[in-house]
């Protein structure tokens, strides 16, 4: 938090504390109007086979920096950026954070209404605030976006309301494509997973920026459509990385090859179905698994505390454990949970 921010935060707390009842709170309409001025509609490539050619963006500097999601919409010769007042600017991509799938666009504007991201070095007078840190589950939040492109010309973007449902790591996919970002996101209790919503602003009931709306993705665990937003601190980090003001962007995490549990001396029941339960078929004598007390017919329920419902989940979860870190299985044996400590994870090469 910058000194500037801290001063403002203190002032806000004082104001809330002292003026209880005296200061008139903004109506929801005023809050929406204030925040919507800082949200833009983006039009680019697309329009074929279910891919929309439009999305949303958030102005984060008065000089015309816009954050949005990286998508096929931006794969265009010309990207149009339409402001709340109907002004139309050509936009160019000036940076990308491939891991968080966030792109920064630039438009040639001046003194534009914008949100100040946390940690911003220069904050213009009148800039919209961002929340400090994360908000809790149950916080009321508004989503402002170019939802279904129903707002045309100088029409204001659409507003939806609900609450933050929870904060969890993103485990999602779009078709067969797994989302590269695995960090935490806000899940929302209302439907923002719609064409055009991605890149829109999530603001709290005071109009402070809370996050950026994400793409249309399905949860890998339950298969339901996710309504999620990237928290503001991650947006700020991504913005700095994409504009070269932060550490160089990390390459998108490639899918790690599944780790064969056989290396630990465990043979699981063969994969007859997509979701064969991870029963232990046999344990190799003298192996780490044998030393841990693992037995045939044990049913694995967790690897290092993470639930594993199938054989493939075991291998995937094991793959995510760094070499040398301890491996711990939770198994069901005769109706009881038994913990088996398999020691440090060896390199992923089966010994002869």
């Amino acid at each position: 938090m910058t000194r500037h921010h801290r001063r403002r935060f203190v002032a806000a707390v004082l104001a809330a504390g002292l003026a209880a009842g005296a200061a008139r709170a903004a109506t929801p309409g005023e809050t929406i109007a204030g925040a919507a001025r800082r949200v833009v509609k983006l039009y680019g490539a697309g329009g074929v086979r279910g891919l929309e050619g439009y999305q949303s963006g958030i102005l984060v500097s008065p000089a015309g920096h816009v954050v949005t999601v990286q998508s096929t919409v931006l794969d265009s010769e010309s990207i149009d950026c339409v402001l709340d007042d109907g002004r139309r600017f050509p936009a160019t991509v000036i940076g990308v954070d491939p891991r968080r799938e966030l792109a920064v666009l630039s438009i040639a504007g001046e003194d534009l209404p914008s949100f100040a991201l946390p940690g911003a070095t220069e904050v213009a007078a009148g800039a919209g605030e961002s929340v400090a840190g994360r908000v809790a589950a149950g916080t009321r939040v508004l989503a402002l976006s170019n939802l279904f492109a129903v707002a045309v010309g100088d029409e204001r973007v659409s507003a939806q309301h609900g609450v933050v449902s929870t904060v969890v790591p993103l485990e999602a996919r779009r078709g067969a494509f797994e989302a590269p970002y695995r960090g935490e996101v806000y899940l929302l209790d209302y439907t923002t997973s719609n064409p055009g919503s991605a890149g829109g602003a999530l603001v709290d009931w005071r109009g402070r920026l809370v996050g950026m709306l994400g793409k249309e993705l399905r949860a890998t665990t339950t298969g339901v459509w996710l309504n999620y937003a990237l928290p503001i601190d991650e947006v700020a980090l991504a913005y700095r990385e994409a504009t070269g003001k932060g550490p160089p962007p990390a390459p998108p995490s490639d899918d790690v090859a599944p780790f064969d549990a056989g290396v630990l001396g465990v043979v699981l029941v063969p994969d007859l179905l997509d979701r064969t339960p991870p029963f232990v078929e046999s344990v190799r004598d003298g192996s780490a698994a044998a030393r841990s007390g693992l037995r045939p017919d044990d049913l694995l329920v967790a690897v290092n505390g993470r639930s594993v419902a199938s054989r493939s989940a075991v291998q995937k979860t094991l793959a995510a454990v760094p070499d040398g870190d301890p491996v711990e299985f939770a198994v069901i044996r005769a109706g009881e949970i038994v913990i088996c400590d398999l020691g440090p994870k060896p390199a992923a090469r089966r010994d002869p």
Partner: protein, 694 residues
């Protein structure tokens, strides 16, 4: 200050008292926020949401299915939509947790529960509530640990449609529950089994609580459909703004039974109504099944239910509201009106979980087709005397043995029970539907007395009921008519790209027609242009003679996909039949689907899709499709099933299907070899005529 605000503050004062041990920290935090934001009602509400969620969170657990029983190894883990973690709610401090059948499907005997503190425990399935799609899990708590946090139930009289409600789940994270907010949309949904909310209910929080603003639990979120068809149906409603919860009060009422290991099934009374639309039908018992709870309580076909559990009843839907929440073993107090005088008879019936399949009993007469009238309406033409005129008598059937002949009018039927001193029911026969309903409540082997009007002379015969034969007799009497006058046309309708062909006999327009839907090879009849039209007409023309002889409209659907019959073809077929019904009156007792090869499998699935309206299915060179569900028969839901093979085709292996259908109560048979004609028009159309047997 608005009323809503007042509501919001009042329970707040009570909440800390109720949850002192658990939520002090959350309450202090929330109260502090409440104080700091007193000028902003919207933020007051936000603080109240968070406090209510915090109050219940310690009772919300994560539920995962770990492995499946041996029997289910090839099934549920793959087939179940519960592919990921789900949620459960603590209902007993010593380890009792409620979850849904969606999360813990049948055949699964154990689950893994992650308690709010983070500890994983193995849970066994203690009991199931099949009527509400819930399951009770039991976990053993480690020695010396304190009990689980049991939430407070929101009493029924506190529910107000429009009040704030929260939904909690633990599927996303075992550490923090997910929270959603909405309002109570309705109470008394799903025939009184559930309340409705517009908060986001999905597989991510099934099994979690629906919470009021004071942190009390209204119900347990479940994928309960409006019509409880299957355990997991209703899941398609997620993200729709419709979510259901089973009231916690109702769950707690049966908790001791579930804890004792019971499986609670929906209660069955064993009666069938004259009409299938519960909102218009008067609760007139068309069929009172032999041996059913209703029959044991002394109810009879023809009785009219006027009271159930002290509530006045005028429509079937009202009765259903009383019956649907009940379990097998529960009792219902009924009052019926009987006979001309409207004698009031009180009866108490104890509901059962299941009845044996219904094997449709018959007299062996085929009534003359008459124009249909709406169910429950008085006979239209007072000129026509009441009763059922026998068109033809089934050769070697019960009526034939008793000497009933064509032209007799059945005016009364009396059941003669075997037991001495028992009094059987009597029905003044108004029409064929009423006679069919009465007979349907008896059983093959029962003895009946028929009062006949034979050319103006009364006669009485006694006969023993038989079972409905699946196959038609050899000599079904044909009708007069010129086959060449039959018309062949396309059943054009809006939004149908490939309309079916229909062959309509030129019989008197007011006589209801039987319907045979015949599904041939996919893609047949789909061609465009004059030549293709001519070919299709030529093919349809081969049905003209049989259609005329037996008064049957023959519908030849065209598959949307030239390669296969598909789901969308069922929709098209349903609309084609609606279109046909607008042109000609149809006989509801004679609607049958048939097909050969892939068309046969499709015919079965289409019949399932269209439900009890389809009274017969013929599969030629086909067996039941893999996805067929063979529901046990009950009055109003049975159909004759015949198998056959076309000349030259290999005989299918139908033995297993025949046994399966017979066990479920269906009349089932194998047609004699269809020789000579590759198109078994004569056999199938006479079979449709024979389906009208009573």
């Amino acid at each position: 200050m608005s009323e809503r605000r007042a509501c919001l503050v009042r329970p707040w004062r009570r909440a800390p008292v109720a949850f002192v041990g658990r939520v002090v920290a959350a309450a202090i935090l929330a109260l502090a926020r409440l104080a700091a934001t007193a000028a902003e009602p919207d933020l007051d509400e936000e603080a109240a949401f968070q406090a209510a969620a915090a109050a219940v969170a310690p009772s919300v657990v994560r539920v995962e299915v770990a492995g499946v029983s041996e029997a289910g190894l090839s099934g549920p883990a793959e087939a179940s939509p519960a592919a990921g973690p789900s949620t459960g709610l603590v209902v007993g401090a010593d380890g009792w947790i409620v979850a849904t059948s969606f999360a813990v499907p049948k055949d699964v005997t154990q689950a893994v529960v992650t308690l709010p503190g983070g500890g994983r425990r193995v849970a066994r399935v203690a009991g199931r509530d099949l009527a509400r799609g819930l399951v009770l899990l039991a976990v053993d708590l480690p020695e010396g640990t304190s009990g689980l946090a049991v939430p407070e139930a929101a009493p029924r009289d506190s529910w107000r449609v429009g009040q704030w409600t929260l939904v909690l789940g633990r599927a996303w994270s075992a550490v923090e529950p997910s929270v959603g907010v909405g309002i109570l949309s309705a109470t008394n949904r799903a025939w009184g089994k559930a309340v409705q909310t517009d908060a986001s209910v999905s597989p991510a929080n099934y099994g979690g609580p629906l919470v009021d603003i004071a942190g009390r639990v209204i119900g347990v979120l479940a994928p309960l459909p409006a019509e409880t068809a299957g355990m997991t149906s209703g899941t398609e409603l997620y993200d729709s703004g419709i979510g259901f919860a089973v009231p916690l009060e109702d769950i707690l009422r049966v908790l001791p039974r579930l804890q004792a290991g019971e499986t609670l099934a929906p209660g069955i009374l064993g009666i069938g109504y004259a009409s299938r639309d519960p909102f218009t039908a008067v609760p007139l018992i068309a069929t009172c099944r032999a041996g059913s709870p209703a029959a044991k309580a002394g109810l009879r076909s023809g009785d009219r239910i006027v009271e159930a559990d002290g509530r006045p009843i005028t429509r079937v839907a009202q009765l259903r509201h009383v019956l649907a929440p009940k379990y097998a073993g529960d009792a219902v107090d009924l009052v019926v009106e009987r006979g001309e005088g409207g004698e009031r008879v009180a009866a108490r019936a104890e509901l059962v979980a299941s009845l044996p399949p219904w094997r449709r009993p018959v007299l062996g007469i085929v009534p003359r087709r008459t124009a249909a009238r709406p169910a429950g309406a008085a006979p239209a033409a007072p000129a026509a005397p009441a009763g059922v005129v026998v068109d033809w008598v089934w050769p070697d059937g019960p009526a034939a043995a008793a000497g009933v002949v064509a032209g007799d009018r059945v005016t009364m039927i009396r059941h003669r029970p075997a037991g001495a001193g028992e009094e059987g029911g009597t029905l003044e026969v108004a029409d064929a539907a009423a006679l069919g309903g009465f007979v349907g409540g008896l059983e093959a082997g029962d003895s009946c007395e028929l009062v006949l009007d034979r050319a103006g002379t009364p006669a009485t015969v006694t006969l023993t009921l038989g079972k409905q034969p699946a196959l038609p007799p050899a000599n079904v009497p044909p009708r007069e008519g010129d086959p060449e006058a039959a018309t062949i046309e396309r059943l054009e309708a809006a939004e149908i790209a490939k309309p079916a062909w229909v062959v309509t006999p030129a019989t008197q327009p007011e006589t209801p027609l039987g319907v045979l839907v015949y599904c041939g090879p996919p893609g047949a009849g789909a061609g465009k242009g004059a030549a293709a039209d001519e070919a299709a007409r030529l093919a349809a023309g081969r049905w003209k003679a049989a259609a005329t002889r037996y008064g049957v409209a023959v519908v030849l659907p065209v598959s949307a996909d030239a390669e296969r019959w598909g789901r969308e073809d069922i929709q098209t077929l349903a609309r084609s039949l609606d279109g046909l019904r607008l042109r000609r009156p149809l006989d509801p007792t004679r609607i049958a689907f048939a097909g050969s090869g892939p068309g046969g499998a499709f015919a079965w699935l289409a019949a399932e899709g269209l439900g009890p309206a389809v009274r017969g299915v013929a599969l030629l060179d086909a067996v039941l499709p893999r996805q067929a569900t063979v529901e046990p028969t009950e009055p109003g839901r049975s159909r004759a099933v015949v198998f056959g093979s076309l000349p030259g085709a290999a005989v299918g292996r139908v033995d297993a299907d025949v046994r399966r259908l017979d066990a479920a109560g269906y009349p089932v048979g194998i047609l004699p070899e269809l020789i000579g004609d590759a198109l078994p028009a004569e056999t199938l159309c006479s079979w449709v005529e024979a389906l009208g047997v009573l």
